[in-house]
Assembly symmetry: C2
Homo-oligomer: 342 residues x 2
Amino acid sequence: MKRKSAVTSRDVAERAGVSQSAVSRCFSPKASISEKTKVKVLKAAKELGYRPNSIARSLITRSSRTIALVLSHLDNMFYPLVVEKASLRFQAEDYHLLLFVVPEEGDFAGVMDSILQSQVDGILMMSASLTSSLAHECVETGIPVVLINRNVDFAGISQVYSDNYHGGYWVGSYLAMGGHERVAYLAGLETSSTSRHRYQGLVDGLASLGQQCRVVARGDYDFEQAREATLQLFAEPPYPDAIFAASDHMAISVMETLRHDLGRRVPEDVSVIGFDDTPIAAWPSYRLTTVRQPVDRMVEEATTLLLKQIRQGDFNAENRVLPVTPILRDSARQPARELATE
Amino acid sequence: MKRKSAVTSRDVAERAGVSQSAVSRCFSPKASISEKTKVKVLKAAKELGYRPNSIARSLITRSSRTIALVLSHLDNMFYPLVVEKASLRFQAEDYHLLLFVVPEEGDFAGVMDSILQSQVDGILMMSASLTSSLAHECVETGIPVVLINRNVDFAGISQVYSDNYHGGYWVGSYLAMGGHERVAYLAGLETSSTSRHRYQGLVDGLASLGQQCRVVARGDYDFEQAREATLQLFAEPPYPDAIFAASDHMAISVMETLRHDLGRRVPEDVSVIGFDDTPIAAWPSYRLTTVRQPVDRMVEEATTLLLKQIRQGDFNAENRVLPVTPILRDSARQPARELATE
DNA sequence: TCGCGTTTTGCAAACGTATTCATATCGTGG
DNA sequence: CCACGATATGAATACGTTTGCAAAACGCGA
């Protein structure tokens, strides 16, 4: 294998018989350069296989055109989807994505440090509830951060998430109208604000019709843990007649466990409702009743928000909460008459 | 929001009363620096909130400590898993990951250009069959590339993939021994070498027992397309009595379609076999018979190979083909007596 | 205290580009 | 053909580090 070419703008300048500045200008869209020299330079550049060194460029422009994407639960189909969309969006805007997978409740501070050093122009976090000290640190460095699908009570960081409370509320009232009397909640990570808000909504939704949430189990957004939790819930009576899981990922696990380990029918014996509306939820085997998060809009809002903050150095943190949509399928017993969605 | 700090090594040098070189040395592991000045510098650095500018560092060391990860099918659970593993591995080695999602048969050359400009130290490709002109270009620039789960007939690029041919071969003989007589193959992308090799194996495996592959349908590794293809296969007799899909992702789609659209039982009416052994394959609803790819080993081999090539500037391309493991579950009719796996 | 080998330290030169500023060139109307 | 505004060009500087080199400081036995 040959050694790296390392052909610089000087090399092509020499070959084209112009100055280094000239060739630099040829690769800056808005720079002033005559058509004549431009073709000369581009010709020479092509012949030498020249590509501008983006590192040097970043150094001088003080912008890496790179955005950090940090997340953890890559096994939950929801995230790959937003990664894909976000990636396409940023690529279109000529930004690069630096991926950071934080090892699930692991050494987050370390990763954060790594991010800060990497000179990214912005950070898109879709995971890991930020401790407020870390949040503070982010803001101090002046790097724009937007949280997606998570939030932290710290002014100064932008957040876009969906209306978890009302999603939960809808589930609560829907289950209550369906005549369920022993509703269980399968929570996500303890540190997750989304899980808490969904729970709060559930409780209030049930209460609005005189019901309550009987039991809360921990699933930590994990497939296996959701399974354990479900077995636990049915270890001894009284058994739940409905389970609301904080994510589709867990809801599917619940359904699998109910059907194949516990011999329960869904929804005849127990209703199951999820959250997200992941593609799997629509598969005929599940037909999971769930609450749809507007992934496209979330990504769209988050990315444009981030880009805006990057461009105008001076910005204010914004919160965007997006509406969710109940998706009525067959995994939950339907109320006798249709529920009027608010 | 405040403006970026931009505290440089000079600032901390001044505050610590040393030269700029000294502070630089404090952040280079192997540099020679006395303990005394080191603490002085680190103290000053902490007080000022200094972080070495990795861009400037990259410029001088000519190494960005960054690796490009390029892929397309983020919806197939197989890929998020390897992304996660690869990410953790590289982070542990203090490398960063630049993510490139190539829009599915889209403008690959453009993305490639973008990658080359980004000055990555290496490229890990898990998708998109490289055209040989692009492959050539990669090699020319001298950037180490390793392909994972894909291959291209071009010496000079390292590849790690699993033994697709023998995986297919096993499927062929297993289906033949199970007494299937009308086997269909649901192919992946036409450009995909893996799909071709699996097919070749299937054909030979069937032939070894006097059978053949009756029909080939195109699924392009896509869930929806796999569904269409399945419907097509059962549009009119003769119907297949077994379908081998080039990925679990498609195999699941096939099962869903068979059961819910076509009212067929699996495996009583038709056997289904996949490839990958994605987590979903093990779910009780499917219990998909499949061929396991050793994801962990693939990632391990690919990453170490890449890192090795990066470290020693001079390297030879290597191919690693890893053994697969048949996973016998319930989606395919079992032969009367156990098949002795070779 | 001196001498000598070993660390430590500072100076200065890179790394490859963008960009300012002054100069040169061009186009055009008088 | 001249003058003049607009536009194109080149020289030089800066971005924030790493690192070779030479000088300085150090440790320590004599």
